[in-house]
């Protein structure tokens, strides 16, 4: 998921102004600041790795779900908890260097509601723990068992709320090479795993009234300290669920030295195959500035090795997240060689 979001989090927090895509260059090298860097080959251990890794600079618990009302009306929700460390490690009380940020959104074809929460680590206002698993900021929660098999997800903003139950129908998927996900030709990488197969039921409260919804959810877990190369300005990220039961996670990192694409093909039985960099081709077809800067809202994706040639289109082109870091995030419909639904996130378009 989007690393760029966290770039310069600390600056955006203070100044409440939309943040520009800022390279990491200004922050000094990761090693200099004392942060850990992902190591190739280090195995992920659960439930420990469901919890926070304060020695890394950034981390998130990122859940998106494509939903439908009783009459088939499509909806989408997002629930994200970001962690950003001002310094490596954890401390009690106000001295904790950890900063937490929550984003929640509920999107339909005609409306897009979102909210944002910020909190300090150390005092109990926000955090993640295991045994049993709970991720929270203020009254927003994602909580359940330590295997992340059954979760309850809640959030509310000024004009929307949701309360959902998530049940995993497949195994966790380790992205990249056993969870080590390379993000640039220079070798920037993150730890990255997902649970892409939640069945979701619950209630969505919108200004028009409550809606009972069902659908599919996708959880991403990622942490790193230096996820983007200096030249990379933003990224486009896709999580797609096809009617065949197969799934595709793909991303395109935009850089001045050329784009870097990668991803994972997840078969219907949950078997994951990492894509070789460059195998996935993503081409913007149509842009919109419905709710902010101009962003591509229709794409053509090709993955020849899987005979995939699809067009994806935003359910609501105005799904702009006008939070302190502004970005576009919303549900998409898939047509072409494969059909289905998914989520699209695009960052770095607000420059």
């Amino acid at each position: 998921m989007p690393a760029k979001l966290i770039l310069g989090l600390c600056m955006a927090i203070l100044f409440a102004a939309p943040l520009r895509a800022q390279g990491y260059a200004g922050l000094g090298s990761t090693a200099e600041a004392g942060f850990a860097t992902p190591e190739h080959g280090r195995p992920l251990v659960f439930p420990r790795d469901h919890g926070p890794h304060p020695e890394f600079r950034i981390e998130w618990w990122y859940l998106t779900a494509t939903l439908a009302g009783p009459d088939g009306t499509p909806y989408g929700i997002q629930w994200t908890l970001f962690r950003s460390a001002l310094a490596p490690g954890e401390a009690e009380g106000w001295q904790s260097p950890q900063i937490w940020m929550g984003h929640a959104a509920a999107t339909s074809a005609r409306s897009h509601h979102f909210a944002e929460r910020l909190g300090r680590g150390g005092i109990g206002q926000a955090g993640v723990r295991t045994g049993p698993f709970e991720a929270w900021i203020d009254d927003w929660r994602m909580a359940g068992d330590d295997g992340l098999r059954a979760l309850r997800l809640t959030a509310r903003g000024g004009d929307f709320a949701y309360d959902l139950h998530l049940n995993a129908e497949g195994p966790l998927v380790l992205q990249g090479d056993r969870g080590y996900s390379v993000k640039s030709a220079d070798g920037q990488a993150s730890y990255y795993y997902s649970q892409p197969s939640y069945r979701v039921t619950g209630t969505l409260a919108l200004p028009s009234g409550p809606v009972a919804v069902t659908g599919q959810g996708w959880l991403d877990r990622e942490w790193s300290s230096q996820p983007l190369a200096a030249d990379q300005s933003g990224w486009d990220w896709f999580s797609l669920s096809f009617e065949t039961g197969a799934k595709l996670m793909g991303f395109r990192l935009r850089g001045t030295r050329g784009d870097f694409t990668s991803g994972t093909w997840i078969a219907a039985d949950g078997t994951a195959t990492a894509l070789t960099p460059g195998a996935l081709r993503a081409e913007p077809l149509e842009s919109s500035d419905a709710a902010g800067p101009e962003v591509p809202v229709r794409w053509r994706l090709q993955l020849p090795e899987r005979d995939l040639d699809i067009e994806i289109a935003a359910l609501n082109p105005a799904a702009w997240m006008g939070t302190r870091f502004a970005y576009w995030e919303g549900p998409v419909q898939i047509e072409g060689s494969h059909r289905g639904r998914g989520y699209l996130e695009m960052t770095g378009y607000d420059d």
Binding site: I13, Q125, D139
Partner: protein, 811 residues
């Protein structure tokens, strides 16, 4: 030609350096007083703006625990219940000998702060503030001190200077504040942020013990202090006007003296238009020079007065104002503009006359005087009109502006009426005069009147202002002192650190003193007629002390009995006047709490509304009433012993105990500071007026030679003439001073009964101070005598040949 003309014009000033100095001094004085007031006002307003932006949160409702601090866990619990809040921790921090106020805010949740926005470019700021040793923001002078003082501290916080932080405050992250203050798990209040999610449980259910206080309306300080600044501005304008009399006098003199030169230049072929243009340019250049000097002087005056003004504003309104002065383009601009515009206005008459002067005419003083006589009837009418307009303005315009319009109308109208009034008096004097010399003297004075009239108007205004403002201040002080004696009932006042300690102290004290009077209050926002006001409601216990001493202005029958029974309320004068209610009306403090008003009490402590009810009724209607302050009744001799015992027993800081005498002294000190500036401006204005008389007399000096020469030729000696000169000046000043007395008293009345009511909400009884009048009268005579001394000395030393020349020169 142009060069020659310029040289000729300039030669006049070269030959009359004193005149040039006078003109520049007049301009500089006028500009100085005006721009000093402007600088003070600008500085104070900038301070308010800074404070308002800094507490940007001031408009937000807040949640406080009546008893003292709130555990940090309560904040977390309310956040986890969904409420969007921002915690604040504040306290006093000792740094060496200094006590500083530390404000700890939580930067993630706090509304944006200008001081923090300045850190936007610095990626290391937030990590330093939260994760590393901390970051302290303070005004530049304090920041420098902090940096030095903290040098030794291990793991010391960084210090950054910021113009955006109010004076005396250290702004930092709440975690750093908690460390500095040694209060890791406490906060003092929570701001309730504007955007809240849907479906929240009400705070009254989640935290019934916390008190939700309404945010202050944005520009509270600005509104409260507006009257103060308007006062200063009015004073500045008055000083400016008085200064302009000097300019008018000098410029008029210069033109009179240059008539011959103007005639010559024109006869030589210099077009009138060019000459007028050159003279205008000359005047403007002088105005610019004088204005610049005035700005420099103004800066010095402002710098000298600002610390007192700052102390006043802090003491009276709690408005934070820095004691230091910064140059602001606004007041430099306004000062220069005023100097130029004022000079132009003061010189237009002279320029116009010079431009219309027939080339060959040889006008004399008498002609001028005759024209003036014709104008004087018009002037009297204009004066009456202005006074009427002032009264009309009071009637038509609401608030303070109307009050000041009345003052302006009164003062200007009276000033315009002065020459006709003096003329009438002089005519009377002449009729009663016996002897040739006396008759000449009276007649001569009348002839001089148009020339010196403006200076006398300046004197009138200065004297009347002195009497008026002096009477107001002294009346106020007398009333205030009496009120303090009455109001400060208790011998000793004690403040506990929290409610629990408060209760303990009260228990401990009960057997040791005659009475423990709790001082407990809560802010209410009433409905009905008083809607929109914030009223601080005090609960009082039934004690003889109140019944005997409380300063009531109006009462209904059985007032105290009814209030103590919870059946009625007392309100302060401010509230009564602002809302227009009094005994017989009722006050709706809360939807379910309406009480008839049993009395109105005077309250000179603050400009806000207050009410008093019986303690049990207050406690029944307010959920969280702090119980930390007490007044103690005991024999005065026992105060020191008890205070020491209290301090030891409860480990109270020195500031938590204050005895009656100290409190009184403190209050009076604040009061006196308030009027230091007024007094200083008063004296400066009088000085300027004295200077105006001097310039007028100097102006008249050369014009009068043709009139004195014949008298001298008829046998009066030069020393007799010089004595008469001084006597004439003294007489005119004395007459003016006599006329200034009623005007000053009228002004005092307007200040006490109109301006004070509008500005503060209280009306004060007027007291008379005849000794002050006598002193002022003597001062006026002294000023006039000194002003006349110079021309008299010249006259005395005048070579007789000069007097003879008068007959030789055809002027």
């Amino acid at each position: 030609m142009r060069r020659a003309a310029l040289l000729a014009l300039w030669s006049h000033w070269r030959r009359h350096p004193l005149q040039l100095a006078t003109l520049l001094a007049g301009l500089a004085l006028a500009t100085a007083l005006w721009s000093a007031v402007q600088a003070i006002n600008a500085e104070a307003r900038a301070s308010y703006a800074r404070a308002a932006a800094q507490i940007g949160a001031g408009g937000l409702d807040r949640l406080e625990a009546p008893g003292g601090p709130i555990p940090l866990a309560r904040y977390v619990a309310l956040r986890r219940a969904g409420w969007q809040l921002s915690p604040v921790l504040e306290g006093s921090w000792r740094l060496g000998e200094r006590r500083l106020r530390v404000a700890g805010i939580e930067p993630l949740s706090h509304p944006p702060l200008p001081a923090f926005a300045a850190l936007a470019e610095d990626a290391t700021a937030l990590p330093q503030m939260i994760a590393a040793g901390g970051l302290l923001l303070a005004a530049p002078d304090l920041a420098a001190d902090l940096a030095t003082a903290l040098h030794e501290m291990p793991g010391r916080p960084q210090v950054r200077a910021s113009d955006q932080v109010p004076p005396g405050l250290v702004l930092t992250d709440i975690g750093v504040a908690a460390r500095l203050l040694g209060r890791p798990d406490q906060i003092d209040r929570m701001l309730i942020l504007p955007d809240q999610p849907i479906g929240l449980a009400p705070l009254s259910a989640l935290a019934p013990d916390l008190q939700r206080l309404p945010g202050r309306a944005g520009s509270d300080t600005a509104r409260l202090t507006d009257s103060f600044h308007l006062n200063l501005t009015a004073f500045g304008l008055l000083s400016f006007a008085v200064g302009l009399f000097i300019v008018h006098g000098t410029v008029g003199l210069a033109f009179e003296q240059r008539r011959a030169m103007i005639r010559t230049l024109r006869a030589l072929g210099l077009p009138m238009r060019l000459l007028t243009g050159l003279m205008l340019a000359e005047v403007m250049a002088l105005a610019l020079l004088g204005g610049l000097v005035g700005l420099g002087l103004g800066y010095l005056v402002a710098a000298a007065l600002l610390p007192d003004v700052a102390a006043t504003l802090r003491g009276l309104y709690g408005a934070p104002v820095a004691g230091g002065l910064t140059l602001r383009p606004a007041w430099i601009g306004s000062g220069l503009a005023m100097a130029l515009a004022g000079t132009l206005a003061a010189s237009l008459h002279a320029l116009w006359r010079a431009a219309r002067m027939p080339i060959l005419a040889a006008p004399g003083l008498q002609a001028w005087a005759e024209r003036a006589a014709r104008a004087s009837r018009l002037q009297a009418l204009a004066g009456l009109g202005l006074i009427a307009a002032g009264l009309g303005a009071l009637w038509l315009i609401e608030g303070l502006i109307g009050g000041f319009a009345l003052l302006a109308g009164l003062m200007l109208g009276a000033a315009l009426l002065l020459p006709p009034a003096l003329a009438a008096l002089l005519r009377l004097g002449r009729r009663r005069a016996r002897g040739v010399v006396a008759e000449w003297l009276w007649a001569d004075m009348r002839a001089q009147l148009p020339g010196i009239g403006l200076a006398l108007m300046a004197l009138l205004l200065a004297l009347a202002t002195n009497i008026g403002v002096g009477t107001m201040v002294k009346s106020f002080r007398q009333t205030f002192t009496g009120w303090l004696d009455q109001r400060l009932i208790s011998e000793l006042y004690v403040t506990a650190t929290d409610d629990d300690q408060g209760a303990e102290i009260a228990r401990w004290l009960a057997p040791r003193v005659q009475a423990v009077l709790p001082i407990r209050s809560v802010d209410f926002t009433p409905g009905g007629a008083a809607a929109g006001q914030t009223v601080t409601v005090y609960g009082v216990v039934d004690d003889r002390s109140y019944r005997d001493h409380w300063p009531l202005l109006q009462t209904a029958p059985r007032a105290w009995d009814r209030v103590m029974a919870g059946e009625a309320v007392f309100i302060n004068e401010q509230l009564a006047r602002r809302v227009g209610i009094g005994p017989g009306d009722s006050l709706t403090l809360a939807p379910n709490w309406q009480l008839p008003i049993a009395g109105v009490y005077s309250d000179y402590g603050n400009p806000t509304g207050q009410a008093i009810v019986a303690m049990p009724s207050l406690l029944a209607h307010a959920s969280a009433v702090p119980n930390r302050r007490f007044g103690l009744r005991l024999p005065a001799a026992e105060v020191p012993v008890l205070a020491e015992a209290l301090r030891q027993r409860f480990d109270l800081p020195a500031s938590a105990l204050i005895d009656n005498a100290a409190l009184k002294a403190q209050s009076l000190a604040i009061f006196d500071k308030t009027f230091v500036v007024t007094g200083a401006l008063n004296l400066l204005t009088l000085g300027v007026a004295g200077f105006a008389i001097l310039t007028s007399l100097l102006t008249l000096w050369s014009l009068r030679l043709p009139q004195i020469a014949p008298v001298w030729a008829l046998g009066l000696t030069r020393s007799q003439l010089a004595r008469l000169e001084i006597g004439r000046s003294l007489l005119l000043a004395a007459l003016t001073a006599l006329l200034a007395l009623p005007l000053g008293l009228l002004l005092a009345w307007a200040l006490l009964a109109v301006i004070n009511v509008q500005a503060f909400g209280w009306q004060l009884p007027m007291a008379l101070f005849p000794l002050d009048w006598l002193r002022l009268f003597a001062l006026a005579l002294l000023a006039a005598g000194l002003a006349a001394a110079l021309p008299a000395r010249r006259l005395y030393r005048l070579p007789p040949s000069d007097l003879l020349k008068v007959f030789a020169n055809a002027r």
